[in-house]
Structures are given as C-alpha cells and as structure tokens.
Amino acid sequence: MIYFPLVDTAWKDPFGPQRYNSLVSNLRYVRANFDAEHIRVTGEHNVWEVPRVCRSINGTVVSPSSSDITAVANPAAGEYDLTLAAGRFTASRIRVQVGAPGADLKPWAVNAEIVSATSIKLRFQKLTSALGAGNAWAATNAAPFSVAIHSEPLARGTWAAMGGLRNAGVALSGDTSATQAEWSHFPRESAAAYKALTAAHTSAGVHNVREVARYYGLCSYDPVTPKYTVSGSAALGAVSRTSAGIVVVNYTALTTPVSAFASPMFAASGGTTGDTYLIASTPGVSSTTFYLYKYNFAAKTWAAADGDFFFVIHGS
C-alpha cells in the first residue's frame, strides 16, 4: 500500500486513471495507518499502551464520570472496589497504574488485584509512623487518587466497504472516469476517516483525550544548589523545590480533574540500587506537587528525600 503525494489539478485537467488509482491507494493508506492503534470508525485508542480509561477517584466518585468505571465502592478502610463495564476488559488482561495522593505527606503502598473482567480491588495502606520514626502501616482511605486501566485491544471494527471503488491500480488508461457512485466514496470515506481521527485528536493530530497524557517530563535533581530542573512537554513551566522531597511542576492550565503518575529513577539520581523511593502527588489545574519518600533499610524508617523522576499528567 503506497501513499502518493499528489499535485493539485488545474482547470480542464482530466481526472484520469492514475489520479483515481492514487486517491484509492491514499485512502487505503490512511485507513491502515489509523487502524494500527485505533478502533475504526469510533476513533478510540486501541493499543495496550494507551489506557482504556484514566480517571481521578475521590471517595466513591469517579471524575469525570466514566462508562468504563461504572461504580466505586469503599467497603473498608483503604479498599476500593471498581466495577468495570462488561465487554470492555478481559480478566487476565488488565493492567493498572495508580497515583497515590500527596496531601497527607506520607508514603502510600498500593496493591491492585484483578478480581474479574468487571472488578478491580485497590488496597491503599499509608505509613502511620512519623517520618524518620518507625515503619508501621495501616489501611487508610486515599483521596483523591489517580488510576489508569489498560487492557488488550478490542476488535477493531470495520470501515464502510469501498466496494464501489476499483482497487488501486485497476483503473487503466482509457477507462471512463469514475462514476458518480465511485466518486462519492472519496468524500464519504474521507469524512469517516476524519471523524474517526478527530474523536480523540485535534484536526492537527494532537491527542486531546484524558487517556493520553497531556504532559510528560523528567525532573532532575541537583543536590549542590539544591534545585530541580525539568525537561519534557513544551507546556511545562517552572519547577520549584519546596523542601526536601517536595517538588512543584507548573504547566499550562488543564481542566480538572487532573491525574498524575510518577516513576522514580535511582541510578540517575546518584543513588545506589539500594535506594527505594515512593512518590505521591497532588495534581492540580496548573501545577502538580510531587512528594518523594525514601526507605532507609538500615533504620527501617522513611524520610522525605530528593531524587530524579519521570512523570505524566493526564487531563482535559
């Protein structure tokens, strides 16, 4: 399948077989490219790496509301039972990311159990000891937290048949011009492709759904100053270090709710493989505060500590 760059026609130029073939080929090409990681016609993302749903959960409220997470229960302290829509997930093929809340100024341990294709149980436990003084944990309600749920790609669906169009390369010199029915496939199927594209992207192709992170960045810690620098999305602004292990990243405003996920880097932060960090966050409209905690294996205690980390911010 080949994409042919075409020059514009001019007045009285014939619509000949070569141009006809090229248009057919080009239309099939854009369909194939779009098909690779999206559902045909609806335009939804359809690849393992893009979560099927990404939301903020506060208590039992899913924000914004979602047809994929249909209910949340809080049956016990720290436990959240998420009910998933039938037919959208497969039990053994669900992957979960969780962003713990930062407001408590404590590290969180989170466990995500896949109960069935329509049920996930999240268990949150929070350090109850003071930082630097113990290692006691207890099941505790977390509010709000971020969750992203991935699953295997769904059936891709079908585009409308282009049966009225001859296959690319079939139209030959001397053929009559496209019939009205044949020609109408071009505007019809181009419109369908455009509609599918703009379901989850701007007309320029920029992703504009909550499931794809709006911003990403790498926060690098300079222990000499000390300070942080950030590189990543163009929309990121200044980064500041409030105190040890507390980092504020500013960005062009999003619409709430905002979800954040962060990944600590050990070797790059000058630490050793023995360093172990947990990161919580407080995502906001125009900034997210990250809270980094490090475990001291010798003392068996936790402390706020600086380090490099990578993050993504989801929002609208």
Binding site: M1, I2, Y3, F4, P5, L6, D8, W11, L23, N26, Y29, V30, A32, N33, D35, A36, E37, H38, W48, E49, V50, R93, R95, Q97, A109, V110, N111, A112, E113, R123, N135, W137, A178, Q180, S184, F186, P187, R188, S190, A191, A193, L197, T202, S203, A204, G205, V206, Y216, L218, G232, F261, M265, F266, A267, T273, T276, Y295, K300, F310, V312
Partner: protein, 163 residues
C-alpha cells in the same frame, strides 16, 4: 489545504478540478494529522506499517509479570511488548528485564497481589553501556516483621520513555 467536507455527487453533477483537489487535500489532511503523533513511513517505497504512537506521553510497554508459584523460579510476562525482550527471576523478589529501545526509559510498577500486606516495588532503569544491553531491575518488597523484605508476588510493569 485543510479538510473540508465535500458533497456526494448525483447524476450529472460535475466534478471539477477543485473537487478533485479538495478530495486529495482531505485525505492528505487526515494523513498529516495521523503522523503528527504517530509513526509514518517513507512516502517513497512505503509498504505501510505506520500508525504507532510516538511521544513520551504514552508508555512504551505495559505488561503483567506473573509468578508461577508451582514453578518457583519461573516468571512470565503477559501482554508481551516488543520492548521487554527477556524476564528473569534473580532471587526471591528480585527480577530483571531486558529492554530494547532508546535510552531514556523509566519503569513504574504496581503490585497485583491479592494479599493485604503493604507492598511496594523499587524499579531501576539502567541504560545500555559498554556492551551491556539496557535492562530494568524490579525489587518486589513486602512488609515482614517491621521491615520491607524482597518477596515474590506478581505485578504490573509500565515503562515510559523515548520511543
């Protein structure tokens, strides 16, 4: 030329050169938008294969690492990703994963155990150097008698980074 909706034609409706140009432009508008944040292939000699997401906003790999308790030293990966090229259990609660891809990758793991113990996972993403391929180490820790110790349990591994 931006996308502009074209009318369907009926009998005796003339398709002039401007309609042909707009039809071309509409397909090109979709193609250009797709390749803004997805892979494309060379236009000359292209045989397809484009359309994968680019950019660091989307993970490079999302897999489940499951642990065969019946075969204690064996782990496996579900939803295999071409980025994760190998998986090994080094010792209890310590795993390494070969990673194929550009440097600048960042692992994040979430326990998928059904227990109630506090668990967390320390991941280290190590770029390739001096002939040693890139890899990720994950240490799955669980609170035992007041200390976090390496313990086997399954988990979800997400890898972000440069495509």
């Amino acid at each position: 030329m931006a996308y502009a909706k074209l009318p369907l034609v009926v009998q005796d409706y003339p398709v002039g050169y401007q309609s042909v140009n707009q039809a071309q432009a509409n397909i090109e508008a979709v193609r250009a938008a797709i390749i803004a944040e997805h892979t494309n292939a060379d236009l000359i000699g292209n045989v397809g294969g484009g359309g994968a997401h680019t950019g660091q906003s989307i993970p490079r790999a999302v897999v489940e690492v499951f642990f065969q308790r019946a075969i204690f030293s064996s782990i496996g990966i579900r939803s295999s990703s071409p980025r994760i090229i190998s998986a090994s259990r080094i010792s209890a609660g310590v795993f390494t994963f070969g990673y194929a891809g550009p440097d600048g990758f960042y692992a994040l793991a979430v326990p998928s155990d059904n227990g109630t113990n506090p668990n967390f996972i320390a991941c280290e993403s190590v770029p390739a150097s001096s002939g040693v391929p890139a890899y990720i180490t994950c240490k799955t820790l669980s609170l035992v008698a007041g200390d976090f110790v390496a313990t086997d349990y399954p988990f979800f591994l997400t890898v972000y980074g440069t495509r």
